[in-house]
Amino acid sequence: MGAIPTATADSDQQPTDAEPPVLEARGVVKRFGHVEALRGADFTVRRGEVVALIGDNGAGKSTLIKTLSGVHPPDEGEIRVGGRPVQFSTPVDARRAGVETVYQDLAVADDLSVAANLYLGREILRSGPLGRLGLLDKRAMRQGAAAALDELGVRIPRVTTPIAMLSGGQRQCVAVARAIIWATNVVILDEPTAALGVVQTGRVLDVVRRARDAGMSVVLVSHNMPQVLEIADRVEVLRLGRRAAQLRADEVTTDDLVAAMTGSTNVDRDER
């Protein structure tokens, strides 16, 4: 297993990339009691790319995502944003560094409107003394929400609709849009389409593409290999708590991905 060379080799791999990666994990170790979920995991996200993070169940995908989003601070190793080491002890720290995450269980408030959800925790207040009393500028939030959703191509009846009245796909789009709107560096999506039908999945992926085209970096955790190859620019494979491969999506097949995940062969084209 240890035969797969990782971080040391590939840091020299991209000598042309002058810009440091927007988000990077280096040698991250995370233990839960006696279980070592991450054993020196590396992960790289560059500006404006969609990176798929894949791996078998128990490979450490969720744990890695959670260290990157501040839910589980790593025990060892470091996380860098724009080349600079950072400490994420809470999700709020990660968000301040421009890293937004959409978890599998959508964190939206069903009873609140779409606009209220997009601005949750970041409400626009009225200017002047009224604002200091906590008075909301609802009109500004409605307009901002409508404009932002429009830009991302998210179609919902209206921004005043409570989330509870939206379909599953619309909800997911709102959750993803919310992350994209506020992220300045990276959006992490944990299985964003797992519960969706074909049409709705297409909508969510469209939103992801638009975000990428606008220069946003996206990390996509997925079990759906064809989807990974469809949307990702690059694929990073995690196995047994370490990076097993870095692949260009246009150079591999789903079989290659599965092989890399299960470790049946060492597919690692970046190595050559």
Binding site: P91, V92, R95, Y103, D105, L106, A107, V108, A109, D110, D111, L112, A116, L120, G121, R122, E123, L125, L133, G134, L135, L136, K138, R155, P157, R158, T160, T161, P162, A164, M165, L166, S167, G168, G169, Q170, G197, V199, Q200, R203
Partner: protein, 335 residues
């Protein structure tokens, strides 16, 4: 189903969405208001005493206490919590308010401040039990209910606090231009809280926490602090309500408010507050409070025993919660 997202024919869909959106709030309020009007008319015919100035004044003052405390309850219910301690906290506040007037010569206003302070402290206790000790609201406030009632009896020796100056009655029985003072206070409280809930960040967070606590937390809202704040504010109103109740009978009654929590929970739920959190408006709660006060008043006028009143209120709670669940299912079964 993707039909909800179908590209064509969204016009009609959008219109009905808009309708549902508006109507979902208004339905329970409208139903409650209709019931209120029907009951009002029925009582007018059923009892010659009902539609008299004295009785209407009485209903106003009676509604005031229920409405203020139901407003407090509504805030807590919106956060997906519940406050069972309102009755005993109101009694504690009223009794202590009466005692500081009688024994320490406090003015009515200073005594009201004391009562409000007692309510705030009880609210703080509830809030900390829920957020810091992580005891579910039902159990946390059940404990506070028992502790509060115990304290009232210990402090008073289970004897009412009498011998108060007439001026003590101002809050509960006084009037401005023929309108009960208590009603004026109620209107101010209701408008204030309705504004707080619908127009401010504090209100937004209150709904958000009740709707999805985890989402609120991940959005960077300091949920512990805000939730505690809601309980404290509720406590303030309960203290005020307790003081008005004591003022109405010109004495501090240790037995006051037993099973008051049922009346105010009923008022809130009738008005559309959802025990599943995230929903509830003060307009509805006020209508609900009126309905409950009218049921109580009507029962007295028609000589229906207090035990039957309990039964009626219980049945109303069932009906209101059943209706709430039905409404939620319909709203969410879409798409």
């Amino acid at each position: 189903m993707s039909s909800a997202e179908a590209t064509a024919g969204t016009q009609r869909g959008e219109l009905s969405d808009w309708f549902r959106e508006r109507i979902s709030h208004a339905v329970s309020e409208f139903t409650a208001a209709t019931a209120l009007v029907v009951l009002f008319i029925a009582l007018t015919f059923a009892s010659p005493y009902f539609l008299t100035a004295d009785n209407l004044f009485n209903i106003g003052a009676q509604t005031a206490v229920i409405a203020i405390i139901a407003t407090a309850q509504t805030m807590v219910i919106i956060t997906k919590g519940i406050d069972l301690s309102v009755g005993s906290v109101a009694a504690l506040a009223g009794v202590l308010g009466a005692m500081v007037v009688r024994d320490l010569g406090f003015s009515l206003w200073a005594a009201t401040a004391v009562a409000i302070g007692v309510g705030a402290l009880a609210g703080l206790l509830n809030g900390l039990l829920v957020t810091v000790a992580r005891i579910p609201p039902f159990i946390a406030t059940l404990g506070t209910m028992s502790v509060g009632r115990g304290l009232v009896f210990i402090i008073t020796g289970a004897v009412g606090v009498y011998g108060l100056p007439r001026s003590f009655q101002l809050l509960g029985n006084g009037q401005i231009l023929g309108i009960p003072f208590a009603v004026v206070i109620t209107v101010l409280v209701a408008v204030g809280v309705a504004f707080l809930l619908s127009q401010t960040r504090f209100g937004q967070y209150t709904y958000a926490m009740g709707s999805n606590l985890e989402a609120a937390r991940r959005s960077g809202i300091r949920v512990g602090r805000h939730l505690t704040g809601v309980y404290v504010l509720a406590g303030v109103l309960v203290g005020l309500g307790g003081m008005i109740a004591a003022s109405r009978v010109n004495s501090g009654q240790p037995n006051y408010g037993i099973s008051l929590e049922l009346d105010v929970i009923a008022a809130a739920v009738i008005g559309g507050a959802s025990l599943f959190g995230g929903q509830g408006r003060i307009v509805g709660t006020i209508i609900g409070a009126f309905l409950i006060a009218l049921v109580r008043n009507g029962a007295v006028l028609l000589d229906i025993s207090i035990h039957y009143q309990q039964v009626i209120v219980g049945v109303i709670i069932w009906a209101a919660v059943y209706f709430d669940q039905y409404r939620r299912r319909r709203l969410e079964s879409r798409g």
